[in-house]
């Protein structure tokens, strides 16, 4: 039984309407461009998307947004896509805004089996409204909850066929965290190698987190996103 699939739509067979989906990337950098592209061709709706940004206008997750497939967005910087504001204004999408460090930490907590954690970030601000505040050893914290999801769509640089992953430069970002926090983890990669090729000290995501591996069909270049 191999984790490697040859087709983006086969890989996406685990995604259902109503799912909560983690999508890696910082803007387009490190985003699973091929899987997102595949999602735009798939008949799903009412998705909750957890991702730092909802793409850019008409790009990446931005297309999914335009298709009204996203019911709710959880992220830290929706500003990068002006269409998000328009949709929100019209009441067509729910949004939950989290500080970027809190978004990252909540994903890690989800993957690590924690329920929540006390962070200093956001204390006393509008983003703390409705959140429990607590003083521990003289410092004020707020309680943030773990995030877990049905599916994670992530991008890595190389995978071995067992599912071990390494990343490339700042395309790493949220991907290794999301790999830990979903029931099904689907990864697109630049290159698939045999087990033993990746250095055991260098593997960032051990294979036990990964369910499906597919080769990327879309890549980010200086000139933008292009078919591989």
């Amino acid at each position: 039984m191999t984790k490697v699939m040859n087709n983006i739509q086969d890989a996406l067979s685990f995604v259902k309407s109503g799912h909560t989906i983690l999508v890696g990337g910082f803007g387009l950098i490190g985003a699973p461009l091929s899987l997102i592209d595949g999602l735009t061709e798939k008949d799903v709706k009412d998705l909750t998307i957890v991702s730092n940004n909802l793409g850019e206008s008409g790009k990446g997750l931005g297309i999914l947004l335009d298709q009204n497939k996203i019911k709710k967005g959880i992220g830290s910087y929706f500003t990068s896509n002006r269409d998000v504001g328009d949709k929100y204004q019209k009441g067509e999408i729910e949004l939950e805004l989290l500080p970027q460090g809190t978004l990252a930490e909540s994903l890690r907590a989800g993957g690590a089996g924690l329920g929540g954690y006390y962070t200093t970030t956001g204390v006393g601000t509008d983003l703390a409204i409705g959140k429990e505040e607590r003083e521990i050893e003289g410092v004020k914290y707020i309680l943030e909850k773990a995030i877990r999801a049905d599916v994670a769509l992530i991008r890595a640089h190389k995978a071995d066929t067992l599912g071990n992953l390494v990343y490339y430069k700042t395309a790493r970002n949220f991907n290794p965290l999301m790999a830990t926090a979903a029931k099904k983890v689907i990864v697109e990669v630049d290159e698939i190698v045999e087990p033993g090729v990746l250095n055991p000290e260098e593997i960032v995501t051990p294979f036990l987190f990964v369910d499906v591996i597919v080769e990327a069909t879309q890549i980010l270049t200086k000139e933008g996103v292009v078919a591989k």
Binding site: F26, G101, E105, R108, G124, K140, N173, T221
Partner: protein
């Protein structure tokens, strides 16, 4: 009495002044806007730049070496310094929140007279983005604010009390504008320097916040 600047000149003037304030060895996180420009004025080689999207050891990059997967928090192409390292977003913000970054240099929409800043949202508009601003405010050992002294409509950005949503209850440490440099000590603004050619009268006239001299 008004000192005239074009926007780019003003930004470079502020960025250059902030750069002088940095004492190596230190780790500095640069926000979007004026802070990004600070990188151009770092003379010392023991000032290390951290970017929250997962790189310690940011340098500038020549056009021909641009890598689309190597960017800073503003998604602008950057280079990799000798001794650089990459990490995930959670590890990156752990560095920030855990007090391992020496200085954060940020922009602001308003700073109040106790050093509290507002830099992520405007009242009446959708609250759409916060990024790493709140994390940097609570975590960096020192926070420097860079901003134009006044808004487009001429009103002071150094206010008595922020009317925009605040970013943190933590006071920043220094404020750099095109007119002056302020320290914040015991939650009080203190003017420590006039920028070249600027008079104390001009600063007084354009500053709503109370400050000592």
């Amino acid at each position: 009495m008004t000192t005239k600047f074009n926007k780019a000149n003003m930004q470079h003037l502020i960025a250059k002044r902030v750069a002088q304030e940095l004492e190596g060895p230190c780790v500095v996180n640069l926000g979007i806007g004026i802070p990004t420009i600070v990188a151009e004025y770092l003379a010392k080689d023991n000032i290390y730049l951290h970017t929250e999207n997962g790189l310690l050891g940011v340098t500038d990059v020549e056009d021909e070496d641009v890598d689309p997967n190597l960017v800073n928090a503003g998604k602008l192409p950057v280079g990799e310094a000798i001794g650089a390292s990459y990490f995930n977003s959670s590890d990156s913000f752990s560095m920030i929140r855990g007090g391992h970054v020496d200085v954060a240099i940020l922009g602001a929409l308003q700073v109040d007279e106790t050093g509290i800043i507002a830099n992520w949202a405007v009242p009446g508009k959708n609250i759409m983005g916060v990024g790493g601003a709140m994390d940097l405010l609570v975590g960096a050992k020192k926070v420097f604010v860079t901003m134009s002294h006044t808004s487009k409509d001429g009103s002071s950005k150094l206010v008595k009390k922020c009317t925009y949503p605040i970013t943190s209850t933590r006071s920043v440490d220094m404020i750099f504008t095109e007119l002056a440099v302020f320290n914040i000590e015991d939650q009080q603004l203190k003017l420590v320097e006039l920028m070249p050619g600027v008079s104390i009268e001009e600063v007084r006239e354009k500053t709503e916040a109370e400050f000592s001299e």
